[in-house]
């Protein structure tokens, strides 16, 4: 579960207005903690050769599976991070930093079998390993990488925000 902070969004906004340099530094520092996770997650994706042959892109593909075909490059591009605050979700929470798996194929690879198990003709052929805590935090790419990271990225983000706060406070005192 994500760590809940109070005032971090306001701090980031304040930094962006008052101390853009510090805001950029903070973003960079947060990114430095997220990048290893993203890179690791990308590494868990199967290559086109490893993916099931029937899932690959075909020229004559049609129907609902025409846009769901797997392409390694596309799936790789879909795994990203974001160090700026997000929009509030349905429950009113704003994420200060996030890691995404945006592509359809990447999402299928990430989540296939985590609810109904490794059964049928397709899921067992995907390979990889479902890792994580609970159904919603389990996956083969980003969730596995996040689990392997053992919370270092999360701690790093929080520390970066607190560091920015301290710096901002010291700057205010100087002013």
């Amino acid at each position: 579960m994500p760590v809940k902070l109070q005032g971090a969004v306001a701090l980031r906004k304040a930094l962006a207005i008052v101390e853009p340099t510090l805001a950029k530094e903070t973003s960079k520092e947060i990114a430095s903690f997220l990048k290893p996770v993203v890179n690791n997650a990308r590494g868990f994706l199967p290559s086109n050769e490893q993916a099931p042959s029937g899932w690959l892109k075909r020229s004559n593909a049609g129907g609902r599976w025409a846009n769901r075909s797997y392409d390694y490059q596309e799936a790789r591009k879909g795994i990203t991070f974001k160090s700026s605050p997000s929009k509030p979700n349905r429950r009113g929470f704003v994420a200060l930093a996030s890691i995404f798996n945006k592509s359809a194929a990447g999402a299928i690879y990430e989540t296939a079998g985590r609810k109904s198990g490794i059964t049928g003709n397709f899921t067992p052929r995907l390979g990889g390993q479902l890792v994580g805590k609970g159904q919603k935090m389990t996956g083969r790419a980003i969730f596995r990488a996040f689990e392997d990271d053992r919370g270092k990225a999360q701690d790093g983000v929080v520390k970066a925000i607190f560091k920015a706060k301290d710096k901002f406070d010291s700057m205010k005192d100087k002013v």
């Binding site: 994500p2 969004v9 929470f93 704003v94 994420a95 200060l96 890691i99 359809a104 999402a107 990430e110």
Partner: protein, 561 residues
């Protein structure tokens, strides 16, 4: 498609739904507030009703208590002093911080006993002082003092006066009261500085307010009074109570005025006093309109005081008589004891002991005699001392004396226990003694006897019963034969019957011998004593000598002829 993402840190910023929820909650809050206010109103009304009930109850109890006291005062002939008593109770309630519900019964108990108003007031003040010092409730102290006033001093023991039981019985009430007051001096004054007293004052004020307008308003009055100081709060409560009481009185007066106006208007219409016109003119009695005047009250009080003084004098005389009677009894008992002591001089046993003591006896015997004399005279201390001396002389180690002291101690075993055992064994042996059977002299040891052992009683019973049975059988047979033709056989059986009867009677007699065994020894001739025999022999020899046949004695040969 579900957005696959991991949020590393987040912050709650709220959203529209929350605003809606907040609005809804605010609305609910307002509704709850409204409901709460309504509930508080209802609750307050209920509390007010409840307090009203309490107030009514308190007033009823207070009225009953006051009525009891008033009746007691009337019965004592002090009806004109009702106001003074009421004032006294009220003042005491304020100064001592004791509610009138407690003061009235206490005062009533004292007044009933003493019959004197001044003495009761004095004793009630004393009771308060003693109660403060001892921590015992005022009602109990008052009752004890009332009892003590008439000579029942048993209840005064619990106040730890330091007086003995006999002193409590012999000393006068005033003397005992003096001791009690001396021991509790200053207690009432020092109690006035305690928080407990302040609480008492508050309690009194609250109680009065409850009695007047209901306890339900007391909390509100306390807040009006500031609530920091109990005394101030009490004063505020009292003032407000009086004010409310005043309002009620004013309201009553206003209603009375309306009634007065109505009467006046009616009289105006009627052309005079309607009631007077209807009733006519009452006859004059020439008596004072105010019979409860000072003179009457004073006279009544003087009479009551005189009666109380008379009663007190009688009580004092009675106590004096009791004391003198007790003294006379004690003197008589002492006299009797002296006489007994003097009489002991002529006690034969004591005389013997004293005579022995005058003689030449050993030191140990002297001590023993002295101990005996001490025991006879009832001198326990000397007897114990001398006994110790005797026992220590016998066993210097003190073991014997220790054993003597331990006599009667349950832990020491009976030294004659072996005798009990011996007696038990002896009894068993006696019980096991066998009566020899003439047919079986060896008892159970005789072969063929199947191990049976016969005792005297069993043998005689068996033989006797068998003989009687046979006798009965024969009698029946004889009767049958006699009724038939065989007369000879019947005669034989009758003889047998007689024999068996005799045998049975013999065994029965043997079995239960009665009376002492008397042995008669018959001796022929006369028996004389040795000296008489000698005298006879001498007389015989003398007679023979005189008749010419002298006796000869050969001492050496041992011959006499």
């Amino acid at each position: 498609m579900a957005d696959l993402r991991i949020d590393l840190a987040s912050e709650f910023k709220g959203k529209k739904a929350f605003k809606e929820a907040d609005k809804a909650v605010s609305g609910l809050d307002r509704a709850v507030g409204k409901l709460g206010k309504q509930f508080i109103g209802l609750f307050a009304a209920q509390k007010l009703y409840s307090y009203g009930k309490q107030s009514f109850k308190a007033f009823a109890e207070d009225e009953a208590s006051a009525r009891r006291l008033a009746t007691a005062v009337d019965n004592l002939g002090l009806s004109f002093s009702q106001t003074r008593i009421s004032d006294f109770i009220q003042n005491l309630e304020q100064s001592a911080g004791i509610v009138d519900d407690v003061l009235r019964p206490s005062f009533q108990a004292l007044l009933n006993t003493t019959g004197s108003l001044t003495k009761s007031q004095e004793l009630l003040n004393n009771a308060i002082q003693i109660s403060r010092a001892s921590g015992i409730d005022l009602a109990t102290v008052s009752q004890d003092l009332a009892n003590g006033y008439v000579g029942i001093t048993r209840g005064l023991k619990k106040y730890n006066t330091g007086l003995t039981q006999s002193e409590l019985k012999t000393k006068s009430f005033n003397e005992i009261l003096g001791v009690m007051l001396a021991k509790s001096a200053g207690a009432a004054q020092s109690y006035l500085d305690t928080t407990a007293y302040k609480m008492d004052v508050l309690t009194v004020a609250t109680d009065n307010a409850k009695e007047t307008i209901g306890k339900g308003l007391v909390d509100a009055f306390a807040r009006i009074g500031g609530g920091s100081d109990a005394k101030d709060a009490a004063k505020a409560i009292d003032n407000i109570a009086k004010a409310i009481s005043g309002v009620v009185i004013a309201l009553g007066t206003a209603i009375g005025l309306v009634e007065k106006f109505r009467k006046g208007y009616t009289n105006f219409i009627a052309g005079g006093d309607v009631n007077a016109l209807m009733a006519g003119t009452p006859a004059s009695t020439n008596r004072s309109k105010s019979p409860a005047g000072t003179a009457a009250r004073t006279a009544q009080q003087r009479a009551a005081e005189a009666a109380a003084a008379k009663r007190a004098k009688e009580l004092a005389n009675l106590t004096k008589k009791q004391v003198s009677a007790n003294k006379a009894l004690t003197a008589e008992q002492k006299k009797q004891a002296d006489l007994k002591k003097a009489g002991s001089v002529f006690d034969l046993e004591q005389i013997q002991i004293l005579a022995a003591l005058k003689g030449s006896v050993s030191e140990e015997d002297r001590t023993r005699l002295q101990a005996q004399a001490a025991i006879l005279n009832g001198n326990a201390v000397l007897a114990t001392d001398l006994t110790k001396k005797i026992l220590m002389a016998q066993d210097a180690s003190g073991g014997l004396y220790a054993y003597f002291l331990a006599i009667g101690d349950a832990k020491i075993k009976n030294p004659f226990a072996f005798l009990d055992t011996w007696l038990e064994e002896f009894m068993n042996k006696l019980n096991n003694l066998k009566f020899p059977d003439p047919n079986n002299p060896y008892g159970g040891n005789y072969p063929g006897n199947n191990g049976k052992r016969y005792t005297t009683s069993s043998v005689s019973q068996t033989v006797s019963s068998n003989a009687l049975v046979q006798d009965a059988f024969n009698a029946v047979q004889a009767f049958q034969l006699a009724s038939g033709s065989n007369a000879a056989e019947a005669a034989v059986l009758a003889l047998d019957s007689a024999r068996y009867t005799a045998l049975g009677q013999a065994y029965a007699g043997y079995r239960a011998p009665t009376g002492d065994t008397i042995i008669n020894v018959q001796v022929e001739g006369s028996v004389i004593r040795e000296q008489e025999l000698i005298d006879k022999v001498m007389a015989g020899t003398q007679l023979s000598s005189l008749s010419g046949s002298p006796s000869q004695i050969g001492r050496i040969a041992g011959m006499f002829g």
